[in-house]
Symmetry: C2
Subunit: 338 residues, 2 copies
């Protein structure tokens, strides 16, 4: 008997979440069943012999099956290095990285890297082998996800093309990919002006309060952007917002306390007003905490509703943080100073 190597055609897809799958691309969409498969008792020599003359999508890894269950994977390198009489059961990795057909593509790619495996096995909920995702596919997935995350954090339309084309595309298309978020930003900018304007009387009494508006807004932005970057990465690796929420909020509060504690003596020394210094310090504490919260909440909301959480970062989060920060600072400042 030669090795039980056969082509398996299309991977089997099953399960109710077809709608979700259409939204997020999953491991199943990248899996190929046209790969070498064998059973544990086949020998290395038999399998190598059986692979000849076949046109596989990927031959980097042999799937060792028992019926339609995956038992393990053997890399080609191990298969070649083993003596011809060695059964695959002895050289297979019997705990290879396995993902469900519905696993999000970037998480799948990340698992493969963590295991230093060139190939990922896809197994359905019933434990049936559904195909392998080959390394070149995983590479493409990672690059695409990278582009998307950067585009969304940077404030491009989510549908903008890949980094290479968006880097070199002509001016008109550049404009059309960027204006939508900027128009949202302009609305936020006008709202901020309305908020500042509602403190007209107080600012007329003490114009010093106005000095620190851009600085407080900038600091809230900076803290929020750090949280956003963390959340986007965490979510695409399958680390949920809940798991990091407590630490992030604590970090945001501590950063705000630290920055406020540092600003207090500096503002006092430079402008000679203790009350304004206290207002700036309190505003930094409040704004940092709230920026962290918004940076956590928005991506989580997008994720909840089945959208790419990265949409909840970048321009949208920033403009909400800015408007809230302006309001908080002016409320605190007028309460403390006037």
């Amino acid at each position: 008997m030669t090795g039980t190597v056969w082509d398996r055609g299309e991977p089997r897809l099953a399960g109710p979440d077809t709608a979700l799958r259409a939204e997020l691309r999953t491991a199943a969409q990248h899996a190929s069943g046209n790969v070498p498969v064998a059973v544990a008792t086949d020998t290395a020599g038999q399998v190598l012999e059986g692979m000849r003359g076949r046109a596989f999508d990927s031959a980097a890894v042999v799937a060792v099956l028992d019926g339609d269950r995956l038992r393990g994977l053997v890399t080609l390198e191990r298969l070649l290095a083993a003596p011809a009489a060695t059964p695959l059961g002895e050289i297979m990795d019997d705990a290879p990285p396995v993902v469900a057909p519905s696993t999000a593509q970037e998480r799948a790619a990340w698992l493969a890297v963590q295991h230093a495996e060139p190939t990922l096995a896809v197994v359905d909920d019933a434990g049936r082998f559904a195909g392998l995702v080959a390394a070149p596919t995983l590479l493409g997935v990672l690059l695409e996800e990278h582009d998307e995350d950067m585009a969304r954090l940077g404030g491009f339309l989510g549908t903008a093309a890949t980094a290479r084309s968006s880097t070199t595309e002509p001016v008109l298309r550049r404009l059309s990919h960027r204006l939508p978020w900027l128009l949202l930003g302009l609305a936020g900018a006008l709202l901020a002006a309305v908020i500042v304007g509602s403190f007209e009387e107080q600012l007329g009494q003490e114009v010093l309060i106005a000095y620190f508006v851009p600085g407080v807004v900038y600091m809230a932005d900076a803290v929020g952007t750090q949280t956003e970057a963390l959340v986007i990465r965490g979510l695409s690796l399958g680390i949920g917002v809940r798991r990091i929420a407590v630490r992030e909020v604590v970090t945001g509060v501590l950063l705000g306390a630290f920055l406020g504690g540092l600003a207090l003596p500096l503002v006092w020394a430079l402008w000679g007003r203790a009350d304004v210094a206290v207002a700036v310090a309190l505003a930094l504490l409040a704004a940092s905490s709230i920026a962290s919260l918004i940076a956590l909440a928005l991506p989580w909301l997008f994720h909840r509703f089945g959208k790419d959480p990265a949409f909840g970062s970048g321009p949208l989060a920033t403009v909400i943080q800015d408007v809230l920060t302006v309001a908080i600072y002016l409320l605190v400042a007028t309460a403390v100073v006037l």
Copy 2:
């Protein structure tokens, strides 16, 4: 004769730029010479036979050499599918993706994806074969670069660990990775306050000018962040700042003109002051143009001095844009309004 398959040990590294290599990780550092090699006249059957019993780092691709020159690459899938008597010269890809040993790692990974190749060949300046970079290595490289870009755009220390660890790390380590950039931001925030303060008299005469400070700063930020994201991606793919500079600056000016043109009637209608509306519009035009310029210039400077250009994006660029924007807006506003 069986195929001329042999192990090649360590890849050959030569060249004067050892210092640069220590800074940027390159294709050479990831290349392995322990891969199957053959000559063009070897047949598929001979090569497959010759590969048996050897422990390669990667067996996904056979390098076809002529002496120490690379002639082409044959993927294992093609090797298996070909009739045993086919010479490799007939089935090899004779224009495979090839990089120099000094090629930056992310650019190398990107090339592999573009060619849908599982493996990249490294060839030195004299055309000598220096080894292959296998797909799992390329995967790791892409994930690492992604983490780095996000960390720098987000405002973490460049040396902060990978996304997974930074997502789950304890509060104290979180603080230490983030505070350095935030302290720089605090200095910028105080500088912005000094600038606003130097317009004390003018703001006292017309407090309406102060309303639009946060909005103008926000818009400059938003335009600048878009350019930053584009530049970081472009540079890591080997697209230089010069190639995109003209288009980006034109785009920045046009975005500023568009946003200013939209803000003019809105501010006029909402606050009933044509002079303030003109000042806001002019400031938006100037701030957008300058934000694009800074977002181009800073990464370019870091790149020039052999540092990761992503350091020139995120917090550093943002704080410079903010301070400049505050100054520009107040200069324009006081000139137009008072």
